[in-house]
């Protein structure tokens, strides 16, 4: 018979406030099997855990029930406590009487009554718990970073620094991501390329880091420590090992009219191109959509010109499969498309641009070689209007824009405004904002300097409409502080567009079985306590794929993710999750309904010999579960009609015992 200890936590007043914890402890004392029941202010505290340890020793408990907060919070804590006291950690059950009882029921009486019922259900379950020993699985000592922006590069460098091999998979022909497109970076205004390219070069030169550029992840299987990832290397038509990056082919290529996505289409490039001078790998790439040789078979100038003989028109997409212990998602962000925001005439006038386009205009390697000129007529703008929160902080029922604040726009607009005023003192700069949010280190001082020293006109108010009139852009806006309408004839309007996760994030999440929120940002395991881990074991989050963030935060999160990966890869084997399915061979009829529903392919079949009545034997096909691959979802237990397949920790009779305990009057 089980000897069960019940420990009711006050959680300060969180539980004790609306649940009579003494009454609960008393009521659960005379449940069958309970030999010890007490309550304490903070069960999760050191003192609380000592009470548990002493009770286990003193009363020789075989199972404990802690009525406290959600098991998602402290199940691990109390399992460690039990293990420390010599009790198998899986003989612990948690009754959630805080988030699902005291916090949601005001009335003391019904709250206490429900707490007792939830306690009873936990006791009923612990009666049928069996001590479980987690299985062990090997760890592949190699990490995969998906995304080659600053987040991916920083993570890869930190992991390689710890001595583990890392592969970076980047969809574009070069790593560098969005940061490579920026001019200066706040708050110190040092040039993006100057701080980024050294890291890109370090990544390229580090022999532990392998960069798969112009590639994407096509298939992921396996589980933490043992991911099998298939990488699709898109055909580049240029042999990476031979190309010296001299760029000769990019000058000779006759196809000149290709929109240059690096400059967001504001200028053009050739069919064979190197995105920007400091590209890593510094290798040309042929764009199959525009290259006449690939489309019609007539041209081939680049291969004639190439001294290194690196051009290969017959290249095909390649698939590589590699084994990884950990995967870091660093897919970054994109500004949202502006076509739904036509009140700012983005599609009607070339002089209404997004902030990223403004970055390219002011960037020395940009389309205008760093001179701030109007894209329409190349004139120097004398009056610029910056519009904040375009598509951010929108009302949830508006069908356009995002509900969240994109976080980085206030700072980069202050940067743009300050740099413009500094370089072109004759240009007037207006910034229309709802709130200016510059909470970082030295951020607010940066913003006040833009206002006080550089005379940027910050106007608290919304821009209603932008109407192109001749060469001018009539900006109609309101000034909430002075309470009046403003009409400004601007030469250039810059929209601080909201940012959203990269389009490749959603299919990747499905492949990784990682969950996402409604805005397609990766959901973190816990917003405050585990921000760089995905709930899916072995998958980590680095950078803006988890939520809008600036470069300082991205880099710190990238290093945090790397730390987590290193923590994982330095283990020789991983203790698996013991709550996995297991097949009872005596009941199994080998009908393979379970294998049909297993998302991880953890179930295999074999013919086994069974003793039958009257000393005869019979070969029967029975299922067996690979505990390392099974994640314990339980789909197979319902597909199995005879109940042969059961799930440790959530057995059929355990869940039924909980139902019975709950319905007991």
């Amino acid at each position: 018979m089980q000897r069960i200890g019940v420990f009711v936590c006050w959680c300060g007043s969180n539980i004790a406030g609306t649940v009579d914890v003494h009454a609960v402890a008393e009521a659960l004392k005379n449940e069958s099997g309970v030999v010890f029941s007490t309550d304490y202010q903070y069960m999760c505290s050191q003192a609380g855990q000592d009470i548990i340890k002493n009770a286990i020793a003193e009363h020789k408990l075989t199972g404990i029930v802690v009525c406290s907060c959600s098991p998602r919070m402290h199940e691990a804590t109390f399992r460690k406590t039990a293990a420390a006291a010599g009790l198998n950690p899986y003989m612990v059950e948690i009754a959630n009487i805080r988030e699902q009882c005291s916090w949601v029921h005001k009335d003391m009486l019904s709250g206490t009554e429900k707490a007792v019922i939830l306690g009873r259900a936990a006791i009923a379950k612990v009666h049928l718990n069996a001590p479980l020993i987690p299985g062990q699985s090997p760890v592949a000592k190699r990490a995969l970073v998906i995304g080659g922006g600053i987040a991916g590069i920083q993570t890869a460098l930190d992991i390689a620094d710890a001595g583990f091999p890392v592969d970076i998979v980047e969809t574009k022909p070069t790593i560098g991501g969005k940061m490579a497109q920026l001019d200066k970076t706040f708050p110190t205004l040092d040039c993006a390329a100057c701080i980024l390219t050294p890291k890109m070069v370090d990544a390229a030169q580090n022999e532990l880091i392998k960069i798969y550029s112009y590639s994407e992840v096509s298939q992921v299987s396996g589980y933490v420590g043992n991911f099998d990832v298939t990488i699709k290397r898109r055909a580049r038509f240029v042999k990476e090992d031979l190309c010296t990056g001299c760029g000769l082919c990019t000058e000779k290529c006759p196809q000149k009219k290709v929109p240059n996505e690096f400059n967001l289409g504001m200028d053009t490039r050739r069919a064979i191109y190197i995105p920007f001078a400091q590209a890593v790998p510094k290798v040309a790439t042929i764009d199959p959509d525009y290259c006449t040789m690939l489309k019609t078979g007539k041209c081939g100038i680049c291969s004639k010109v190439c001294t290194a003989g690196a051009i290969d028109y017959t290249a095909k997409d390649e698939f590589i499969t590699e084994k990884y212990g950990a995967i870091v998602v660093a897919t970054g962000y994109n500004p949202i498309s502006m076509e739904k925001f036509d009140e700012f005439a983005y599609s009607q006038s070339k002089d209404v641009i997004t902030s990223l386009e403004f970055e390219r205009l002011t960037n020395a390697a940009g389309p205008t070689a760093g001179k701030l000129l109007r894209p329409s007529d190349g004139e120097h703008p004398h009056k610029i209007v910056f519009v904040q929160c375009v598509g951010s902080r929108c009302d949830s029922c508006a069908e356009k824009g995002k509900e969240y604040c994109s976080k980085i726009c206030c700072m980069y607009t202050a940067k743009h405004a300050m740099l413009t005023r500094d370089k072109y003192p004759d240009t007037e700069v207006y910034v229309f904002y709802i709130d200016v949010r510059t909470p970082g280190k030295a951020f607010d001082e940066f913003y006040r300097r833009a206002v006080e020293e550089y005379g940027v006109h910050y106007v608290k108010g919304m821009v209603g409409k932008v109407v192109p009139q001749g060469k001018k852009l009539m900006v109609q806006a309101s000034d909430l502080i002075d309470g009046k309408q403003l009409h400004i004839d601007a030469d250039l309007v810059v929209l601080a567009a909201a940012i959203e996760p990269d389009k490749s994030a959603r299919p990747l999440a499905t492949m990784l079985t990682a969950s996402m929120d409604t805005n397609d940002f990766f959901t973190e395991a816990h917003p405050k306590l585990r921000p760089v881990e995905s709930p899916t074991a072995g998958v980590f989050l680095s950078g803006a794929c988890q939520g809008p963030k600036d470069i300082p935060e991205t880099v710190s999160q990238a290093s945090a993710a790397a730390a987590k990966v290193i923590g994982l890869l330095c283990k020789d084997h991983l203790t698996g999750n013991p709550c996995v399915a297991s097949a009872n061979e005596m009941l199994c009829s080998g009908c393979s309904q379970c294998a049909n529903v297993c998302p991880y392919g953890a179930i295999t079949y074999s013919e086994k010999e069974f003793r039958m009545p009257n000393r005869t034997t019979l070969m029967r096909r029975v299922a067996s579960v690979n505990p390392a691959v099974c994640q314990g979802c339980g789909a197979c237990t319902v597909a199995c009609p005879s109940g042969a397949m059961d799930l440790n920790g959530f057995k059929n009779n355990q869940i039924m015992a909980e139902v019975d305990a709950i319905c007991r009057n």
């Binding site: 005596m586 009941l587 199994c588 009829s589 080998g590 009908c591 393979s592 309904q593 049909n596 529903v597 079949y605 019979l618 070969m619 029967r620 096909r621 597909a639 009609p641 005879s642 109940g643 042969a644 059929n652 009779n653 039924m656």
Partner: protein, 332 residues
């Protein structure tokens, strides 16, 4: 009247026995009267000649016996399967319950099986003899001097009236010509029930299921119910029970049994044939089949031997439960 007579089957079976292709024959054996055939295994031509019969009273679906026979008997076993039985055979193959190489399947055409209860309703009790003639059945009863003529149509079991297919979907050899899949309106009864109000439906099923005596005949005859040990027989399953206790137990038993075979039931109608209390159990399975067809597209269990049953399958955009159960939130 069956288009193929007993003699043809006996000759074919004896020939295969003699030339050693098969070591045993699974068929139907004559009983005390003219309508009580028993499935039996014959090993010699003499036994076949003495007892084998194939006529309008061979409703039993033999495919489930192959579970044991293909494991125990050395060599091949010949089995005669009617069109609806071949669907069960395929479903058992899908679930690896039969060693295909040990079974030699001969497809026999079937023009619908007679049901002794229907005959009794017409002629009354005391059926001494039943003659199968071209025109129909001649029933000699104890209490009428002249034999009562009953047409094959009236005597036919209602599962055969709504027969889903005369096509054999699995066989090594076929006697007689091949039939084809019929568009039987076998879901009319289900539609009639669905049209009732919930109270009427509840009353109907309460009346039917409360007569259940938990004899397990429906489960033990069903070719889709082949667990080594059924949850209702396994004391640790938590739902094990032998007795009709109040009215919930029978609902639980029949809902769970129908759910376990949902998507795997080939609608062979054996459960209703064998129920001693004449509960229309096939209406439960047909409800699942009609729902699956409506919601996830036409599916016939056992059509081929490698299909993936619908309830262990999915598509990204299946309808939500509240849409499937119309009205979801309104109270009919």
């Amino acid at each position: 009247m069956q288009t193929v007579n007993t003699q043809t089957l006996i000759e074919r079976a004896s020939a295969l026995l003699q030339d050693g292709t098969v070591s045993a024959v699974l068929g139907w054996k004559r009983g005390e009267f003219d309508y009580d055939m028993t499935p039996a295994v014959f090993t010699t031509a003499e036994e076949l000649a003495a007892g084998f019969v194939y006529n309008d009273f061979c409703g039993a679906n033999l495919s489930k016996y192959l579970l044991k026979k293909t494991r125990e008997i050395q060599g091949k076993i010949l089995v005669f399967l009617k069109p609806c039985d071949t669907y069960s055979f395929n479903q058992l193959l899908t679930e690896h319950r039969i060693h295909r190489e040990n079974a030699y399947v001969i497809g026999v055409p079937c023009s619908g099986m007679a049901d002794i209860h229907s005959i009794r309703k017409i002629t009354g009790e005391g059926i001494a003899r039943v003659e199968l003639t071209e025109g129909g059945l001649l029933v000699h009863t104890l209490y009428d001097d002249a034999p009562v003529a009953v047409s094959y149509e009236d005597a036919m079991a209602d599962r055969c009236k709504t027969c889903k297919s005369k096509k054999h979907v699995a066989y090594d050899e076929l006697l007689g010509e091949e039939g084809d899949v019929l568009d039987s309106h076998r879901f009319d009864e289900v539609a009639k029930l669905e049209a009732m109000t919930p109270d009427e439906r509840f009353a109907f099923w309460q009346g039917e299921l409360s007569r259940c005596i938990r004899c397990n005949a429906c489960r033990d005859v069903c070719p889709a119910c082949t667990c080594e040990k059924c949850v209702f027989d396994n004391p640790d399953s938590g739902v094990e029970n032998k007795a009709p206790g109040g009215d919930f137990e029978e609902k639980m038993f029949h809902i769970i049994r129908a759910f376990h075979v949902a998507g795997r039931c080939t609608d062979c109608g054996e459960c209703s044939r064998v129920c001693p209390q004449d509960i229309p159990l096939h209406l439960l399975n047909r409800k699942f089949i009609s729902d699956i067809n409506k919601t996830y597209g036409e599916y016939q269990a056992g059509e081929t031997a490698d299909q993936r049953p619908p309830l262990v399958n999915f598509t990204q955009n299946d309808p939500e439960p509240s849409d499937v159960v119309k009205g979801g939130h309104d109270h009919a």
